[in-house]
C-alpha cells in the first residue's frame, strides 16, 4: 500500500482494521475523537461493528464480552475516559482477555484540559485498576509507529491473553504524517482461540471469569499471572539516537517528547556537546537493562516528560545512584520546545558529574 498522509488517530483506526479487528466499543472524548469517527465510517465497510457505548465503563465491559467470545476488539479514549475504564481493565486482566486499549492522553487531573500530556504514565504502567495485574504498554513517537504498534498490540494481546495499552498523547493523535500499512490480515486468518466462549458444541464448556472465592485458588491464579508477566519481560524494546560515544548528557524520553529531544540533540551536537537519546518503546515492561548499559556511559541523565515526573521514578530505580538523574517537565498541556529542552541539557552538561 502506498504511503498516505493520516492523522495519528486515523492511522490507529486503520491499523486495527488491517490486522483483522472488526469490533470497536467506545465513547467520545477529545483529543481522540478521530478514532471513533474514522471507525464509525470504516468498520461497516468491512463487515465490522462500531458501537458507541452509553459510557466508558460500559465500553470496557463490552470489550470483556467480545474478547471472551474470541473476537479481536478494541477501544480508545483519553485520560478521564480511561480512568472510567479501569474497572473493566482489572476484570479483563483478571479474566486474561486479549484486548487493545488506546489512551491518547490529555492533561489532568480531573477533567483537566484537552491538550497533550504524558501524565497517565503511572496509571498505565503501575496498574490503574484494582488487584495485582500488569498490562503491556507501547508508546509510539510517530504516526507510522502508532500504526505499527497498534497492529503489534493485537498480536501481543493474543500471545499473552492480556490487555495491551497503546499510550499516545494529543500531539500523536492529532498530527498528520505519512503512514504505510505493512501487512493485512483478515479476521478468518487469525488463529483460533480454544479457550474462548464460543458455544460448547461437541466440547467441554469454557469459562471466562475473574472470581475465585477460595484463597488457595486465587493465590494460584495470581502466581500464574505473575509468571505470565515475567514472561512478558522478553517483549522490551527501545530506540537509541546518537548514543555511540561517551555522553555528557543522556536524555530519556518517550512518545512526543522523544521526537522533540531529537531536534534538541542535533542542535547540541552542532555545539560540540555529546548528547544522546534513550527512548523506551515499551513502558511496561521497562527496558531497564538497555537503559542501564547506556546510562553508565553518561555523565548526566535528563528525563524529560509532559508530566510532573512519573517515568523518572523508574529511571532512578534502574540507575540506582550510579549517574545523577535530573528531570525536566512541562504540564497542563504545555509542550516543551526543542530549544527549551536543549537549554536544560546544556545547563546540565556544564555541571561536574
Amino acid at each position: 500500500m502506498a504511503k498516505k498522509l493520516m492523522k495519528g488517530c486515523e492511522a490507529i483506526g486503520e491499523a486495527a482494521i488491517q490486522c483483522g479487528c472488526r469490533l470497536f466499543f467506545g465513547y467520545p472524548i477529545t483529543p481522540q475523537n478521530e478514532i471513533p469517527e474514522y471507525l464509525s465510517g470504516r468498520l461497516p465497510q468491512v463487515g465490522g461493528t462500531f458501537v458507541q457505548a452509553e459510557s466508558e465503563v460500559a465500553a470496557s465491559h463490552m470489550l470483556y464480552g467480545a474478547a471472551g467470545a474470541g473476537c479481536r476488539c478494541f477501544t480508545s479514549s483519553s485520560s478521564p475516559g480511561i480512568s472510567l475504564m479501569m474497572e473493566g481493565m482489572s476484570y479483563l486482566a483478571g479474566a486474561e482477555l486479549p484486548v487493545v486499549i488506546v489512551n491518547i492522553m490529555r492533561a489532568g487531573p480531573g477533567l483537566g484540559g484537552i491538550l497533550p500530556s504524558q501524565s497517565d504514565y503511572f496509571q498505565a504502567t503501575k496498574g490503574g485498576g484494582h488487584g495485582d495485574y500488569r498490562v503491556l504498554v507501547l508508546a509510539p513517537s510517530t504516526v507510522q509507529e502508532a500504526a505499527d504498534l497498534t497492529m503489534e498490540a493485537f498480536d501481543l494481546a493474543d500471545k499473552y491473553r492480556n490487555p495491551v495499552m497503546v499510550l499516545g498523547d494529543g500531539l500523536i493523535g492529532q498530527m498528520m504524517e505519512p503512514v504505510e500499512f505493512k501487512r493485512r490480515i483478515e479476521p478468518e486468518e487469525l488463529p483460533e482461540k480454544s479457550w474462548a466462549t464460543t458455544g460448547a458444541y461437541r466440547r467441554a464448556p469454557n469459562i471466562v471469569n475473574s472470581l475465585y472465592l477460595r484463597a488457595e485458588d486465587l493465590e494460584q491464579h495470581n502466581l500464574d499471572l505473575g509468571a505470565k508477566y515475567r514472561a512478558m519481560d522478553s517483549e522490551v524494546r527501545h530506540d537509541l539516537y546518537r548514543t555511540d560515544d561517551d555522553l555528557d548528557v543522556l536524555i530519556v524520553a518517550y512518545g512526543t517528547v522523544a521526537r522533540i529531544a531529537r531536534t534538541s540533540i542535533d542542535a547540541l551536537r552542532e555545539k560540540g556537546l555529546k548528547v544522546g537519546l534513550f527512548r523506551p518503546v515499551t513502558l511496561y515492561p521497562y527496558p531497564s537493562e538497555a537503559l542501564a548499559s547506556v546510562a553508565v556511559r553518561a555523565k548526566h541523565v535528563l528525563v524529560a516528560e509532559l508530566s510532573m515526573g512519573q517515568m523518572v521514578e523508574d529511571v532512578r530505580a534502574v540507575i540506582a545512584g550510579r549517574v545523577p538523574v535530573d528531570f525536566y517537565g512541562r504540564v497542563g498541556g504545555m509542550v516543551m520546545t526543542a530549544e527549551e529542552l536543549a537549554e536544560q541539557a546544556e545547563k546540565l552538561a556544564g555541571v561536574p558529574a
Partner: protein, 186 residues
C-alpha cells in the same frame, strides 16, 4: 532543507486544508512532513491554525514557536504570528481582510488580496488557494504542479472545484513569484 510554517485564519477559511495540501505535496516531493492543527481552546474563539513542517530529515517537533514562514488570512493571525517568524522568512498577508501593514522590516512580506482575487475568479471561498499559491511562488518550497496533482486527488469527481482552485492557486503563484528575487541567494 528544513521549513516550519504556520498557516492561520478564521475557522472556515480553509487554512487546515491548504496545510494538508502543502504537506501532501511535500510528501510527494520525497520530503519528511508533518501537519499539526491547533486543537486547543483558541479554536473555540473562531481562529484556526496549523503548523506544517517540510524537511529532508526526520521531523522532531511538529509544532513551532519560531516558524520559517507564515500565511495569515485575518487580523488576529497577523497579530499573533508576525512576531514569531524568523528573520528573513516569508509572511503572506491577506490584504482583503487585514487592514494594517506588516510591521516587521526583516521579513519578505507578500501582500495579496486573496479574497478579492478569488471572488473575481469565481468564489471568495478559494482565497486560501490564492494565499497558498503566493507562498509557493515566493518560496519555491514545493513545485506548484505537485500541489495541483494533490488538489485533483483531493477533489476527485468535482471538476468545477478543481478548476477554480487551479486558477486561484496559479494567480497566487504569479504574485508570489514577483517576490522570489528578493529571496535569491538566501
Amino acid at each position: 532543507m528544513h521549513n516550519e510554517l504556520i498557516l492561520a485564519g478564521f475557522g472556515g477559511q480553509g487554512v487546515l486544508l491548504i496545510g494538508k495540501l502543502l504537506a501532501y505535496a511535500g510528501m510527494k516531493a520525497g520530503l519528511e512532513v508533518t501537519w499539526m492543527p491547533a486543537y486547543g481552546p483558541e479554536m473555540r474563539g473562531g481562529t484556526c491554525n496549523c503548523t506544517v513542517v517540510l524537511s529532508d530529515r526526520q521531523v522532531g517537533s511538529p509544532v513551532s514557536n519560531r516558524p520559517h514562514g507564515a500565511i495569515v488570512l485575518n487580523l488576529q493571525s497577523i497579530d499573533k504570528f508576525e512576531p514569531l517568524v524568523r528573520p528573513g522568512g516569508i509572511l503572506v498577508v491577506n490584504t482583503s481582510l487585514i487592514n494594517r501593514e506588516a510591521t516587521r522590516k526583516d521579513l519578505i512580506v507578500v501582500p495579496v488580496a486573496a479574497n478579492q482575487i478569488a471572488n473575481d475568479a469565481g468564489s471568495a471561498k478559494a482565497a486560501n488557494m490564492v494565499a497558498l499559491g503566493a507562498f509557493i511562488g515566493a518560496s519555491g518550497i514545493v513545485d506548484a504542479e505537485l500541489v495541483k496533482s494533490v488538489l485533483a486527488e483531493t477533489f476527485a469527481g468535482r471538476p468545477k472545484i478543481v478548476e477554480l482552485n487551479y486558477v486561484c492557486l496559479s494567480k497566487g503563484v504569479d504574485i508570489g513569484r514577483t517576490f522570489a528575487p528578493a529571496l535569491a541567494g538566501r
